[in-house]
Symmetry: C2
Subunit: 452 residues, 2 copies
């Protein structure tokens, strides 16, 4: 494989070699009357031999099939890896100490995206040169923990992340920021909410929906908001910091157990579900939106409980679903199943015998709703009541994703079935909202697809 043209082969490789191009170069491609201009991207090892991939100005990648009629022109050379960033601004000694732990994802992929090179990780000096505002807010320490797409993270990564957070808090960090791919950031936020108990300082997960090289990028603003939150917020909880709306500059602070990614690409994709938003960062200030939070207390002693049981499944029900899917999980040694049922918490009656069998085999089976908003209530209809009789545990207004993570965490803590069931319905990290809370959603929620 060509080192300068990673992943390219066959005709596509030949055409690029003729041009003397390498990944990271700015190309202009003319084909069928269309003109594409952008950075030549490395390809995956699984790619074919007929296309080249360039990242166009909008930030998206375009695959172009090379034919004899395709005209390619090189308009600029690769940003050199030896590129020296400007010297970081002087650190101010009296600012709060914040550690940024990077796990990967779009927010950490600026260099990758700009040059086409695979360099998803950030250092403290990279950060200061990209976002110099940070040096006004906090004294930043950094640790590169993973460089992963967030869909590849597993409960083991959650455990590692929790331990790393604990280490930095013990070393005196007054707030933690975790950069994370947005795809599974909600799951990780829930995991840390359970694994990091008795927190003395805020732990803020942050991501970006658009990479730093796109005009509409939210990376810098989200990161600044997250660091402001970690440095100065009055609470000590695990939260997610992401743009609140598509139109203004506020960064919403969501509780880690109540947040869900609800749009594939918008900057305001993350929403707090079935609860009030915890806080908002606007003009450099953290504004609390509720009085009901755990206050920051630097002398509080963190209790680290990083164990997760991986043999817990999330099963989304659909019409006609084969009950054998449940039985398969039991046979595979699964110890917990979160059902994502319909409406108030239902699955078809045909599934009842398999669910009963699972419960008889000491598998914990609990119910959430695929409606996302609202709460399960299994007392209204006969199917729900019968599921309760069988021993299915209703999980109120808990998100299905949070329920999965919580049950993984509980079964990592205890082998006692009764204790596990009690923990599942006990409110540990605000995963249940009380019945009297009126959830408030920002008025612009999921309103209109913005062009930016």
């Amino acid at each position: 494989m060509s080192e300068k043209l990673p992943g390219y082969k066959g005709e596509a490789l030949k055409a690029l070699e003729r041009l003397g191009a390498e990944a990271g170069d700015l190309l202009r491609v003319e084909k069928d009357g269309e003109i594409y201009e952008g950075i030549l991207m490395p390809r995956s090892e699984l790619g074919d031999d007929k296309h080249i991939v360039i990242k166009i100005r909008s930030g998206y990648n375009v695959g172009i099939r090379i034919t004899p009629e395709t005209r390619i022109e090189k308009k600029g050379t690769r940003a050199k890896p030896s590129f020296v960033p400007p010297p970081p601004p002087k650190q101010r000694p009296n600012l709060p100490r914040v550690t940024i732990i990077s796990t990967g994802g779009t927010i950490a992929s600026r260099v990758d995206y700009r040059t086409g090179a695979v360099r998803p990780a950030i250092s403290a000096s990279d950060l200061y040169s990209i976002v110099p505002e940070l040096s006004e807010i906090a004294t930043i320490d950094t640790e590169i923990l993973f460089s992963a797409f967030s869909e590849d993270l597993t409960p083991r990564h959650w455990a590692e992340t929790a331990k790393t957070v604990a280490k930095h808090i013990e070393k005196g960090a007054q707030g933690i920021v975790i950069t994370h791919g947005t795809d599974t950031m909600g799951y990780t936020a829930a995991a840390l909410s359970f694994a990091l108990q008795n927190l003395p300082v805020p732990v803020v997960l942050v991501g970006a929906q658009r990479s730093e090289d796109r005009p509409s990028s939210d990376a810098a603003e989200n990161l600044i908001g997250a660091v402001q939150c970690a440095a100065t917020a009055p609470f000590a909880e695990v939260v997610v910091a992401m743009h609140q709306t598509i139109s203004d500059e506020a960064v919403a602070i969501h509780r880690g157990t109540k947040v869900r990614k609800l749009h594939t690409s918008r900057r305001d994709a993350f929403k707090t579900v079935n609860a009030e938003l915890l806080a908002r960062v606007l003009n450099g200030k953290v504004v609390m939106l509720t009085d009901d939070f755990t206050p920051r207390r630097d002398d509080r002693r963190l209790v680290l409980k990083p164990e997760f049981e991986e043999k817990v499944a999330l099963i989304k029900f659909y019409p006609g679903m084969n009950p054998k899917i449940i039985e398969w999980h039991v046979e595979e040694g699964y110890r917990g199943i979160i059902l994502e049922g319909t409406g108030l918490g239902h699955v078809r009656r045909k599934c009842f015998p398999s669910i009963r069998k699972a419960i008889e085999n000491d598998v914990i089976v609990a119910m959430t709703s695929q409606c996302i908003w609202g709460r399960v209530n299994m007392n209204v209809y006969a199917n729900g009541r019968d599921l309760l009789s069988i021993g299915v545990i209703p999980l109120g207004d808990m998100l299905a994703e949070t329920a999965l993570v919580k049950l993984m965490w509980i079964l990592g803590q205890t082998r006692d079935l009764e204790e596990a069931k009690n923990l599942l319905t006990k409110n540990i990290a605000h995963e249940f909202s009380s019945r009297t809370v009126e959830p408030i959603e920002p008025p612009e929620t999921i309103r209109r697809e913005g062009r930016n």
Copy 2:
């Protein structure tokens, strides 16, 4: 089992027999200083022998454990099954002919809820006596097709429903209303959107989130809106008619392929996702919200394609998901898998070999997003591009639930793999929105939990 006290046994049965009570009676129960008043409900065969269940004024069922200290009083007797409804209003001969097909669900369960008797079905005269306004709108014919909870409906029920709709259209119905449990109404609406091609008249699914006996019931208003739509709407498509907001009287008309239940209990639980709302019924008038619809044409010849392949699965991905789940489906003979991936359409790399194996075994694997809003784009990140290389089919902005139904339908139509794949990415019933459409959501979307 007692006929008058279905499901009751042991101490609970004895206490009720002493009182001379039967299901449907109005009881007053005093226990631990609390007073409950409501209708005695029949119990499920799986219930215990210690509780009685009454439906209180709010419409919810409460289970009360009978102890020696519990005081029960009978305040009214059962609504008699021999109760004769008032005579139906005279039918007007010149109104459009609308058939109401009932499949079960809350909207059809008024009598059940009021008396405690199991009588979930409606007849035409029942309807006129409950909702006399209907006789002003249309000449109503009715057919009781199923009396099921909608989570128990399967692709076979979709096929039966499609055939029944076709039969009534052939007999001259100028619009069809289908009453349906809300839990899986979105799935059935998508199924009929594909199974009923070249429709001459509107087919309107309608449900209720609150049963008719509750003060906040939406049953009558939704039903009136649905019949108005079936009788007079200018379009000929499959739609869902449900309350648009919690605060006004408008009934929203959602396209069958773009609608999702997004709240467990609110009247405005159904939302059009990634598209514009098709129409609205307000003050008896159907107001179209787009010009892009198939117009009603009574002489158009319906093409009925009611076959569905049940061996299609919807698998929601979560961090750490076991790739063997995919292999199990292949071994069980599944012919299609819809993945509900993260973000723009991702699953962990560990799943790639299993997905490749599935595709090599002629299983169609396609990708949707668990974000719900937005569209998958598998060209942005390496994991997505590699999934495309393996042969996973990206499904744009199609809902995961609609994708499941569509693939079941396609594999019910053809055994030709290439034809099936082509159909999957072809826009058949508005399941894809064009990229230029700006989705509009009503501003009150999921804004605030109403008390009603």
